[in-house]
């Protein structure tokens, strides 16, 4: 499947609008409605901001957002974004490769996984009054996924700083995985030697695997993943087929060689 889809992946991507990207969000810390994040996320304080990088790294510590920006070179990447709920967008991100951030802290030899944590500040996050998930929100990647050149930390969209509802001031973007893997408003990055627990997997092991690679052949137990609806098509939008690895098979399929992706979903 990867060969067929990579052709389509090379087609020029036409981004969604600012309005679409910033008003249709999942950020359950602010509520479960798609409009809740844009309505309430302005309550979140994002300055000052620091990211704790710890675990199996040479230079653990709290890195301020400004310090990180000072070390990184920002670039634009236009990626497809596929939500596990079977909708999708195309987003023009600005940011840097996660590998650069990890190298800044110095990854130690024994590290095999990276875990991430979202800010958990109930006074600014009305959605956390309910235990929709086991807060704080947590995500994780295998180290080779984290070091892959497609994996980025985004600090902006459309040439502007990330709006809070999109995960300000910095978030992960892993374009070949379902959107919930791309954790928002990151405050902690930990290098470990064991597969870290991740929020949706903890909430429902059967429905959300650790890998959660976009895969049209593996259904979510409650809906098909074979097709998706691109946001912005209005009331009569047609569904479009979902691409293996969200169209990034040529770049990432080799990471999973020999793995049964129906079992490691």
């Amino acid at each position: 499947a990867a060969l067929g889809t990579s052709v389509q992946a090379e087609e020029a991507l036409d981004p969604n609008t600012w309005e679409e990207v910033t008003n249709y969000c999942n950020f359950y810390e602010f509520g479960t409605g798609k409009g809740d994040p844009s309505a309430y996320a302005d309550r979140m304080t994002t300055r000052p901001w620091s990211v704790t990088i710890d675990g199996l790294v040479d230079r653990p510590g709290d890195y301020s957002f400004e310090q990180i920006l000072g070390e990184m070179t920002l670039e634009e990447r236009i990626y497809r974004f596929r939500c596990v709920e079977a909708w999708s967008m195309v987003v023009p991100w600005q940011g840097f490769e996660l590998a650069d951030l990890l190298n800044m802290a110095g990854v130690q030899g024994g590290a095999k996984y990276v875990s991430f944590e979202t800010l958990y500040r109930p006074s600014e996050m009305p959605g956390t009054a309910y235990k929709v998930l086991d807060w704080p929100y947590r995500e994780g990647l295998r180290l080779d996924e984290a070091m892959h050149p497609l994996t980025m930390m985004a600090t902006g969209i459309f040439g502007k700083p990330l709006p809070n509802q999109n995960g300000a001031p910095l978030r992960l973007v892993v374009p070949w995985k379902y959107g919930f893997k791309s954790i928002k408003s990151v405050v902690r990055v930990t290098l470990t030697d064991q597969e870290p627990p991740t929020s949706w997997n903890m909430a429902n092991r059967r429905e959300y695997g650790f890998y959660s690679n976009v895969n049209p052949d593996v259904s979510h137990p409650r809906w098909s993943q074979a097709s998706e609806r691109r946001i912005g098509g209005g009331l009569f939008a047609k569904r479009q087929p979902t691409l293996m690895f969200n169209g990034y098979g040529k770049e990432v399929a080799s990471l999973y060689e020999g793995m049964d992706l129906a079992r490691h979903f």
Partner: protein, 207 residues
């Protein structure tokens, strides 16, 4: 409460049908013109489903409201029940035509996805209720009519369950609907408060 009942008696049933059905068209118009946000299909589906659940709870509440609070909405029960069916149908149509679109996937979803199987089951249980809601059927079916219309209980449980099973993570709202349905059904049990106080009037048949 007497005053309220008097006012309600003056409210014609056609007005309930009219104002009850209007939101369906208004929401569709909003969906067409951007008023439901950037993903109007899911929004419309959820709006119709939510209204159907609310009307379902209201239908179930009519008997307890009359017996416990003295509020008499019996005159509107058929209209509210049919409006509920109307919104369930709208919800289903949006799902079939605008959301899933692909015939093969529709059948696969109904067969394989428990929350859709359950929702579909609820809709199918409502069909005979809608068909026999006219006066002729009420007369013809006689004593079987109230018995048949107890399907409402099962349909409402399936509807509420459908919503509980649909959401991601632990969410309160669908549980509130399920709680309301269970409470309204619980009040109909032989041991429920109003059941002990007075024998059920013959005509209402406990529905």
């Amino acid at each position: 409460m007497h005053r309220v009942n008097q006012l309600l008696r003056r409210l014609p049933v056609w007005a309930v049908y009219l104002f009850g059905a209007l939101p369906a068209f208004w929401l569709f118009y909003l969906g067409l013109t951007g008023g439901l946000g950037v993903e109007p299909i899911k929004a419309l589906e959820h709006e119709y489903g939510g209204l159907a659940l609310q009307l379902m709870v209201l239908t179930l509440a009519i008997t307890p409201l009359r017996r416990l609070a003295g509020l008499n909405l019996m005159k509107f029960r058929r209209a509210i029940g049919l409006l509920c069916f109307f919104y369930v149908s709208c919800h289903l149509l949006v799902w079939l035509v605008l959301d899933v679109q692909i015939i093969g996937e529709i059948f696969a979803d109904i067969a394989r996805r428990p929350f859709i199987t359950i929702g579909m089951g609820g809709f199918i249980l409502m069909l005979p209720l809608a068909v026999t809601s006219n006066n002729v059927s009420v007369r013809r079916l006689g004593r079987s009519w109230p018995r048949l219309h107890r399907l409402t209980y099962a349909a409402s449980l399936l509807g509420a369950l459908h919503y509980v099973m649909l959401v991601k993570g632990f969410q309160i709202e669908p549980l509130l609907y399920l709680g309301a349905v269970i409470a309204a059904l619980g009040l109909r049990l032989p041991a429920a408060p109003f059941r002990r106080q007075q024998p059920a009037p013959k005509a209402s048949g406990g529905t």
